[in-house]
């Protein structure tokens, strides 16, 4: 990290990376609006909007009634008339209330109008479990991946949150940007200069030779923890890929890795049925002409309780990933 710092980075929190990307893009695009619950002077549930209201005012950083369909619908309507908007949906569970304007309209507007309309909207939402129970914990990004026209991004580090949010705010179609409750307290080196990541590019975050592990968002950190344990406990060299972009999915990077390692284990916090891992494994089979050795690791097929014992039992962890990798490679 010290070398990176010397090359022009600063260590900041994940929430600060979000706020910085937004502040810079709001300064760059005077039309850009931020809408949502508690995004104003309060600064967001995870302080990820801190400073925006003070700098850009009521007109551009607007608290809204707790009405998610209204929030996204208003954002989509403004975006359709050229006023790029970021809408904050506090928890991804609540995005279910707002799927009509996002899925039925925004994702289809450019297509259905023969290219007359573009809807540059970013729906930023926080996924994942942290003690809040069955309707405040879900990861439904796989639902979004199946909607043609939607871009789905899920960073795991402050640097990627910064670079991907800037990319989302310059994209001319609808984007679902997913962060995670457990990411906000994390810090990391972020470039000091303007830095826009490409959409649709995964990243090999740990090189390895025996197995490929894919993940996104907070689970990337679990994957890295498991990779260290695999090396230490079993001498297994795991390559870890941070997907970063779920739609479009960077199958090229994944397939190249699996061509080297010969096996893949996918890790996600969302449900495994029709999940990110299922999609990756099947696409790999299509690309490679045969199914690679593959396993999926995810939560139990059960709601996520707010009870810490039951939440812990439901969620995937490094131990489960280690066990899945060792079983696959037996």
């Amino acid at each position: 990290m010290s070398a990176e710092a010397a090359a022009g980075t600063a260590r900041i929190f994940f929430r600060e990376a979000i706020a910085r990307a937004l502040a810079e893009e709001m300064a760059r695009d005077p039309r850009l609006l931020v809408l949502g619950q508690d995004v104003g002077a309060f600064g967001g549930s995870y302080k990820e909007f801190t400073g925006l209201h003070a700098r850009f005012g009521d007109d551009r950083v607007r608290d809204m009634p707790v009405a998610e369909a209204g929030m996204v619908g208003v954002g989509v309507g403004a975006a359709a008339l050229g006023h790029r908007t970021l809408v904050s949906i506090t928890y991804m569970d609540f995005l279910m209330l707002a799927l009509d304007p996002l899925v039925n309209y925004a994702a289809k507007a450019r297509f259905k109008t023969g290219g007359r309309l573009r809807v540059p909207i970013v729906v930023k939402t926080t996924a994942g479990a942290k003690g809040q129970g069955v309707a405040h914990s879900q990861c439904i990004e796989a639902w979004m991946m199946g909607v043609p026209g939607l871009t789905v991004l899920a960073p795991s580090t402050p640097a990627d949150a910064y670079g991907l949010l800037k990319a989302a705010l310059r994209h001319d179609g609808p984007v679902v940007f997913i962060d995670h409750k457990r990411l906000f307290p994390k810090s990391g080196e972020v470039p000091l200069a303007d830095h826009v990541l490409p959409i649709g590019a995964a990243c090999v975050v740990r090189a390895g030779t025996d197995v490929t592990v894919t993940s996104h968002g907070y689970m990337v950190h679990i994957a890295l923890e498991a990779a260290e344990r695999l090396q230490a406990e079993a001498g297994i060299s795991a390559e870890v890929i941070d997907l970063r972009s779920l739609a479009p999915l960077d199958t090229g990077t994944i397939a190249a890795s699996v061509a080297r390692t010969g096996a893949i284990v996918t890790l996600e916090e969302g449900q495994l049925t029709c999940g990110v891992g299922s999609e990756i494994c099947f696409r790999l089979g299509e690309i490679m002409g045969r199914m690679p050795r593959a396993a999926r690791v995810g939560p139990l097929a059960a709601p996520v309780s707010s009870n810490p014992v039951l939440e812990g039992e439901c969620l995937p962890d490094a131990a489960r990933l280690v066990a899945a990798v060792r079983k696959l490679l037996e």
Partner: protein
């Protein structure tokens, strides 16, 4: 042409396009505006060119009322590449934003929050444009209307909510779907200006819309206009009509076109021969539109993957 005659002609245009469309079987699923022409035409007569109109899936009337090229609309309805949206929209998704028609959204009540967002864009642009959105009585029971009214009233958005109350959600009468009556009273808790009017009288719709729009342009915030109308066809081209013959006959007796023509005749502005000539001219224009559309190609199948995202 004096304005009431121009409005009559626009209503005849909508009726004629739909009649010629109904006479064919090669155009798939349609929701017709026949009977409800006065709502869209009266409203559009009160809009400025830079305003934006959104409609529900019952969009043929609103699109033509807003002044879209009838030939391009007809081509769109027939799925031809020369259509307004290259044949990809059909009736349910017609849009031409640069002509002031942000367009249709087929999910009932789904257009309301979008309209509020469009109104926010107009308010921020500060050029005096407003947004009007047409929706049916069926949308009034949806939460989206109440979310929209609350947000629009809070932010004093330049938004005119136009409820085209044809009295039926497919088969369910409004009295069995809505506890509130008249529907314009829904706007009262939000402090919005509102009115309930006869939506079969194009001049009444025009006057009422113009009055509410003047208030909106003056910064008064959103307003709600309920237009009581009649749908003279079944809900869609694929739906059977559930109304009894006497009820349908009573609805047809309220025809907004016959009413406007009779008024103009009474005023000595348009006699029977002149009205017949107007109908003939429109019929010929529409027939030319269909001929052009028939001669135009369907989209290249590769268009199925274009403009996604």
């Amino acid at each position: 042409m004096i304005e009431p005659i121009a409005r009559l002609r626009r209503m005849v245009l909508i009726r004629t396009v739909e009649a010629q469309l109904m006479a064919r079987r090669d155009h798939g699923f349609q929701l017709y505006s026949t009977g409800e022409e006065a709502v869209a035409v009266g409203l559009c007569a009160a809009l400025s060119p830079t305003d934006q109109l959104l409609s529900s899936g019952r969009a043929i009337g609103p699109a033509l009322a807003r002044g879209l090229d009838p030939a391009a609309v007809i081509a769109e309805l027939l799925g031809k590449a020369s259509g307004v949206n290259r044949g990809k929209a059909g009736r349910g998704h017609l849009a031409q934003p640069e002509a002031g028609f942000l367009g249709a959204h087929t999910v009932v009540a789904g257009n309301l929050t979008l309209a509020a967002g469009a109104a926010l864009a107009c308010q921020r642009a500060g050029e005096g444009a407003i947004v009007a959105v047409i929706f049916g009585d069926g949308a009034c029971g949806a939460g989206a209307l109440h979310e929209t009214m609350n947000i629009a009233a809070l932010w004093r958005l330049p938004l005119l909510l136009v409820c085209d109350n044809n009295g039926l959600s497919v088969s369910t009468p409004v009295a069995r779907s809505m506890a509130a009556s008249p529907l314009a009273t829904l706007a009262a808790p939000f402090g919005m200006a509102s009115a309930t009017i006869d939506g079969m009288d194009v001049e009444r719709v025009h006057t009422a819309a113009a009055g509410l729009i003047a208030g909106i342009r003056a910064g008064g915030g959103p307003a709600f206009l309920e237009c009581r109308s009649e749908r003279l066809t079944p809900h869609s081209s694929a739906t059977r009509d559930t109304r009894a013959a006497p009820d349908l006959a009573a609805a047809r007796a309220r025809c907004p076109i016959a009413r406007a023509a009779a008024r103009l005749a009474g005023e000595g502005a348009l006699d029977a021969a002149a009205f017949a000539a107007l109908e003939q001219a429109v019929s010929a224009e529409v027939a030319r539109g269909f001929a052009l559309a028939d001669a135009a190609p369907y989209p290249d199948p590769a268009e199925a993957l274009s403009d996604v995202g």
